[in-house]
């Protein structure tokens, strides 16, 4: 796994996203990159905004690629407040504009764009793993 620990993380979403997107594990295809970047942004922003009180803390971000299956794995790890984003309720996308709440779409977009997302809390760390089948 190619990984890097960012500490502190306040206001560093762009840098963390750029690190992951520059990984040699990433596909070249623009459509896939768009979906992956969007998922990464939503997941990273979630940690940067909410994991630590006052934003003081670290985030470890990494990628790996299975040569056989071409499944890309993106892993985010932090030591912030235990939070399972997969337990968040999906938004009701059938509401009218005036009924729609503002926000709450980030994790839903992640779930829609990636093939598989898993979460676990281990040794005081939140670990989010996102997988995407790629082609190269």
């Amino acid at each position: 796994m190619i990984k890097k620990r960012f500490n502190p993380i306040t206001d560093r979403s762009s840098e963390i996203i750029a690190f992951l997107m520059a990984s040699p594990d990433m596909p070249k295809d623009d459509d896939l990159r768009f979906k992956i970047e969007l998922s990464i942004e939503e997941a990273v922003e979630n940690v940067v905004q909410y994991a630590y009180e006052g934003g003081i803390g670290w985030l470890e971000a990494g990628t790996s690629l299975d040569d056989q299956s071409l499944i890309l794995t993106i892993e985010l790890r932090d030591a912030g407040v235990p939070f399972n984003p997969l337990e968040m309720e999906d938004p009701d996308i059938t509401l009218r504009a005036d009924e729609r709440p503002v926000g709450g779409l980030g994790i839903y977009l992640c779930k829609s764009m990636m093939d598989r997302i898993s979460y676990r809390y281990e040794d005081g760390n939140n670990i989010l793993i996102m997988e995407k089948q790629i082609t190269n």
């Binding site: 942004e41 939503e42 938004p91 996308i93 009218r96």
Partner: protein, 100 residues
């Protein structure tokens, strides 16, 4: 994201150029704030060169649509990049914002 606003008679033409993400969404919201008030109730947004939006950008588009609707106006987004359009589709925004 570069936001160009051009008022012609009753209609407001907006051209979006670039991307809106967590790094610039606050500025984007400030840039489109003039559209959320006054007689800007007929808004035409050219999205040809909008290459990316995350949920942070969607948030602003929803605020804008809510504002326009509350003033009995209309808003159209046109020429959306298929990848961006998919983000609007997945989140149901295609049902609440007119996209042509």
């Amino acid at each position: 994201m570069i936001v160009t606003i051009n008022k012609q008679d009753e209609k407001t033409f907006v051209v979006l150029d670039g991307r809106v993400d967590s790094s610039n969404a606050d500025q984007f919201q400030k840039d489109v704030a003039p559209l959320m008030e006054g007689d800007n109730t007929d808004i035409d947004i050219d999205c040809t060169n909008m290459t990316y939006t995350s949920s942070q950008g969607l948030r602003v588009f929803l605020l804008l649509q809510k504002s326009v609707s509350s003033r009995n106006g209309k808003m159209v987004m046109r020429n959306m990049d298929p990848r961006v359009k998919e983000v609007f589709d997945i989140t149901g925004f295609s049902n609440i914002i007119t996209i042509v």
